[in-house]
C-alpha cells in the first residue's frame, strides 16, 4: 500500500469556518481519505504533530499559545499552508489592533453588558494576548496561501489534488476570493 499523505490542521485565532469549509468537500472526502490521513487536528484529537507532509492553519496569531502551536507546525510539517483571510491578513480579529489591549479587555470583561463580578481573567492556564493580532507569515515562513473567508471546498480540492499529484499548486480566477 502506498503511504498516505499526513496532514495536520489547527485553528489559531480563527472561527473554524475554514475547517467547516474543508468538510464541505462532502462525498469528495471519501476518495480524499484514500490518499491522506490526519495527524494533529481538531478532527483527531492528536495533541502534537510529528513528521507531517502538510500543515493547514486557519486563524491569525492572537496569543502566546498560537505562537507555540505555529512554531510546532512549522517544525513538523514539510509544507505549511496559511488557510483563509485571518491566517493571511490577521482577518477580523485584527480589527482589535487599533484599540489598546487594556481597553479591549476592559470593554469585554469589566464594562461589557451583563457582566457580573467584573474582573480581567488572569488564570495561569490562560495564554497571554499579543498586543496585536498578526498574520502567520509575520511569525514563520509560509509556503502556500489559500485566500477566502473561508476558502471554498473547491479551493481545498484544487490545492490538495495539485500537491498530491506533485504539481505546483495554482488557483484559477474563480477560486481566488478574499471574502
Amino acid at each position: 500500500m502506498k503511504t498516505k499523505i499526513r496532514i495536520a490542521t489547527t485553528s489559531l485565532g480563527g472561527c473554524f469556518g475554514c475547517h467547516m469549509s474543508l468538510l464541505d468537500l462532502d462525498e469528495r472526502l471519501i476518495p480524499l481519505a484514500e490518499l491522506i490521513e490526519f495527524d494533529r487536528s481538531p478532527l483527531t484529537d492528536i495533541e502534537h504533530c510529528t513528521n507531517c507532509d502538510i500543515g493547514l492553519i486557519e486563524g491569525g496569531v492572537c496569543n502566546s499559545e498560537n505562537v507555540h502551536v505555529l512554531r510546532e507546525f512549522r517544525k513538523n510539517c514539510k509544507i505549511l499552508v496559511a488557510v483563509g483571510a485571518c491566517a493571511i491578513t490577521g482577518g477580523l480579529p485584527a480589527m482589535r489592533n487599533f484599540i489598546p489591549l487594556e481597553e479591549c479587555l476592559a470593554e469585554s470583561y469589566l464594562r461589557g453588558i451583563g457582566v457580573e463580578n467584573a474582573q480581567i481573567p488572569n488564570d495561569l492556564e490562560l495564554p497571554l494576548l499579543l498586543d496585536k493580532v498578526r498574520p502567520l507569515h509575520e511569525v514563520v515562513k509560509v509556503d502556500y496561501f489559500l485566500p477566502g473567508c473561508p476558502p471554498s471546498a473547491e479551493v481545498f480540492w484544487t490545492f490538495l489534488n495539485d500537491l498530491i499529484a506533485g504539481r505546483e499548486p495554482s488557483l484559477p480566477y474563480e477560486c481566488v476570493h478574499y471574502d
Partner: protein, 238 residues
C-alpha cells in the same frame, strides 16, 4: 500617416497627445490601473500601470505615446512588480475584505484577483485610521483609502465642489475633507455626486445600499477586471 507604438510586439496606432494607456485602451489592450480614469487629469500615483518603455519602467497613465516606442505590458517581471505594488497597497491600509460592503465590486480587490495575488507578503501596518459616518447618505472609511485622488478630482473637475483633498506627505499622507469640522456632514456632498461613486475601493460608500446585490453575484466575482475596464473605458472615450 498614422503614428504607431508597439505593445508586446503588436503595432498600435495613437493620436498626438495620447498617453500610452489611452492608446492601449483604444486598441483594446488592458493595462492594470487604479488611479487612472479617462475623464480626469492623470495623477500617476498608484504605479500599477507600470510598463516598460524602451527598456525603462514608467507609468503608462502619464507617459505620452511617441512614435516607435517599444512597450512591454504583459511580461512576467511586470506582473510580479504589479503584484508587489498591490500587496503594498493592501498592507498600508486596513482592507478587511470579509467585512467590507464593497467586496466583489472593489477595483483594488479585482486587480489583486486579476494578478492572482494570494497573500499580502509584507508585514501589515495596521495604522489607525478614522471612519466618518456623520453624513446622512455618504460614509467614508479612511482605512480603505489608497490616495488615488479620484474623489478629489471628481469633486473638483466634475461636481464643482472640492469636497476632498490630500494632505501630508509620504507615510503621513491622508485624505482630508473640506469643512471646518473636517466631517463629511458639514460639506455639500450629495449621494448623487460623482465623487461619492468613483472610489475604486470601499472607502466612500452610499449608505443603505451595501447588500442589494449578494456577495457571489457581484461584478468581479466571476469576471476579470480587464474585460470590464475596457468595456467601460472604451465607451467613455467615444
Amino acid at each position: 500617416m498614422t503614428k504607431t507604438i508597439h505593445i508586446d510586439g503588436n503595432t498600435i496606432p495613437f493620436k498626438e497627445g495620447q498617453t500610452i494607456i489611452e492608446a492601449a485602451t483604444a486598441a483594446g489592450i488592458y493595462i492594470p490601473h487604479l488611479c487612472h480614469h479617462p475623464e480626469f487629469t492623470a495623477h500617476g500615483s498608484c504605479k500599477l500601470c507600470t510598463v516598460n518603455v524602451n527598456g525603462r519602467n514608467c507609468s503608462a497613465c502619464t507617459f505620452a505615446a511617441m512614435e516607435g516606442q517599444e512597450v512591454l505590458n504583459n511580461s512576467q517581471e511586470l506582473k510580479a512588480d504589479r503584484q508587489k505594488i498591490t500587496q503594498m497597497l493592501f498592507v498600508e491600509g486596513n482592507h478587511f475584505c470579509p467585512s467590507c460592503e464593497k467586496t466583489g465590486n472593489c477595483q483594488l480587490q479585482a486587480v489583486a484577483y486579476h494578478l492572482n495575488m494570494l497573500d499580502s507578503h509584507f508585514p501589515h501596518f495596521y495604522s489607525h485610521r478614522e471612519l466618518d459616518a456623520s453624513h446622512a447618505e455618504v460614509i467614508i472609511d479612511h482605512n480603505r483609502c489608497i490616495f488615488c485622488t479620484l474623489c478629489v478630482r471628481a469633486s473638483d473637475e466634475h461636481d464643482g465642489k472640492a469636497v476632498f483633498a490630500i494632505s501630508g506627505r509620504g507615510i503621513n499622507k491622508h485624505l482630508i475633507i473640506n469643512s471646518e469640522s473636517g466631517l463629511l456632514k458639514d460639506t455639500n456632498i450629495e449621494a448623487t455626486d460623482l465623487a461619492a461613486h468613483i472610489c475604486p475601493t470601499g472607502a466612500i460608500l452610499i449608505k443603505h445600499t451595501g447588500y442589494q446585490v449578494p456577495i457571489g453575484e457581484r461584478t468581479y466575482d466571476h469576471q476579470h477586471i480587464d474585460q470590464i475596464s475596457l468595456a467601460v473605458e472604451q465607451t467613455d472615450e467615444n
